[in-house]
């Protein structure tokens, strides 16, 4: 565990690095996440950077319901993220399973899957099908404010 000094929290808010995990959604929210990086929205203005490894990340962006095949990789990726860590549930499926509720192939919504292995996990929910890029950015900012 690390101590959360005010300076660290301030630095976290200034440079949240995000890691993107698609847990078998329909790819629509993933495209909206990619939209955030385009010149129109340019999240680098806020220091948000998409990184290629969960080891480097502070925030995990999760899209889609968790299929049975994706459950273990998602849990593993979550445990690979260094503390302090948090997740944003992007889209209706990640928030509440959406159209996949009661489907035979899914293991549950991502928040329940993560709470199974890490009861202290912190989340924020960004509903929408798909949510707008501005909403995703606001979700990340609100999440960091709540740390």
């Amino acid at each position: 565990m690390v101590t959360k000094t005010p300076l660290l929290l301030r630095a976290l808010k200034k440079s949240p690095w995000v890691f993107h995990v698609g847990t078998s959604g329909c790819n629509n929210c993933d495209i909206e996440i990619a939209d955030c990086l385009t010149p129109r929205f340019d999240v680098e203005r806020f220091g948000i950077k998409l990184v290629g490894s969960p080891r480097h990340a502070d925030v995990m962006l999760i899209t889609g319901p968790v299929s049975r095949a994706c459950k273990e990789p998602l849990q593993q990726a979550w445990l690979e993220m260094p503390q302090p860590r948090a997740a944003v549930m992007v889209g209706s499926c990640a928030c509440s399973m959406g159209a996949y509720k009661d489907a035979y192939s899914v293991a549950g919504p991502p928040d329940k899957v993560l709470l199974e292995i890490d009861p202290d996990a912190k989340f924020i929910y960004v509903p929408g099908c798909p949510p707008k890029p501005e909403t995703i950015v606001m979700g990340v900012v609100k999440l960091l404010g709540a740390l």
Binding site: L7, R55, H56, D58
Partner: protein, 321 residues
């Protein structure tokens, strides 16, 4: 001040570690801002690299179960120390605050290899297969660019000057000797041999910094940051700082060797910084207009055309051009 205390000050504060880290982080911001402008974006605020490093320093450090912990945690310090010492030698010679010893150019070339070696060994120590792929690519890339880089720097060493109608070899192996030579005979960059060698050294320094199109060792979309994949928290921050120090050292080395040193007047300092930023912007423009190459393409490029060009420049320098 006793010489030891003086050199400790040089190594640790100015122009060594502290100054190079601060300057390097500012230059990282210049890099990211110019990249953003090229891509028609607003880009990060000026303090962004500082916040990034500060945040990394506060985060948890995870040592993977399969890693060699000593090497995994120790190598970032080795890399940073070597980069800091290289920065000190280059700046001391550029400003001329202390006499440099004969052959410090060789020492600097060796010291600049160590940060790359630290990344290679750190990636191998992490025990991750993708890290190993990154390390192997970085190793091949290093073998590729070191050869033309050293030949291009030798061009500056073998420059000749006409004194009393006779060609005299004036070059030395010491950086301040090269600066003095340029004060007498004009910038090496303005000679045909120097211009070619500068171009070659620029591209090699570009690969040394791990920028696109030679970022295949980090290639975040195919092997997820390569050798740095398993690093988290403060040790990752140390690698980021090391890269910043290299970013503040290599353009200065290029300017010192090919474009004259720094004279301590307002105009002189501004001109020197202008040259450094100009080289940096050149790096950023190359970086943003080229797609990543494969490792075999990179090796063929460095061992083929660039080595031939560097040898041609060496021949021209031998002829006194």
């Amino acid at each position: 001040m006793a010489p030891i205390a003086e050199w400790l000050f040089f190594f640790l504060i100015f122009p060594g570690l502290l100054f190079s880290v601060l300057l390097g982080l500012v230059l990282v911001w210049v890099d990211r801002k110019v990249t953003a402008l090229v891509q028609w974006r607003a880009g990060p605020p000026p303090g962004q690299p500082f916040w990034d490093v500060l945040k990394l320093m506060g985060k948890e450090v995870i040592v993977p179960a399969q890693a060699w912990a000593g090497g995994f945690l120790g190598l970032p310090f080795v890399g940073l120390a070597a980069a800091g010492i290289a920065a000190t030698f280059v700046w001391v010679a550029a400003i001329g605050i202390a006499p440099s010893f004969g052959g410090d150019l060789i020492v600097v070339v060796y010291l600049l290899v160590i940060p790359t070696l630290a990344v290679i060994m750190g990636g191998a120590a992490s025990g991750n297969p993708l890290g190993a792929v990154g390390s192997s690519r970085d190793m091949k890339l290093m073998l590729a660019y070191e050869l033309p880089f050293v030949i291009a720097l030798l061009v500056a060493v073998f420059q000749k000057q006409e004194i009393d109608g006779e060609l005299v070899r004036a070059g030395t192996m010491s950086l301040s000797g090269i600066v003095e030579f340029q004060n007498d005979a004009g910038s090496i960059l303005l000679r045909p041999s120097g211009a070619i060698a500068f171009l070659v050294a620029l591209l090699c320094a570009h690969a040394k910094l791990g920028f696109v199109p030679f970022d295949l060792a980090e290639a975040e979309c195919e092997i997820g940051e390569g050798a740095l994949l398993e690093y988290s928290g403060a040790v990752l921050g140390l690698f980021k700082i090391t890269q910043a120090v290299l970013l503040a050292t290599l353009p200065v080395l290029l300017v010192t060797v090919f474009w004259g040193g720094l004279t301590l007047t307002t105009l002189g300092v501004l001109a020197f910084l202008g040259k450094v930023v100009l080289i940096l912007v050149l790096f950023v423009l190359i970086k943003n207009t080229n797609p990543r190459v494969r490792i075999d393409q990179a090796m063929r490029f460095f061992w083929g055309p660039l080595t031939v060009l560097a040898l041609a420049a060496l021949l021209l320098a031998h002829l006194g051009l």
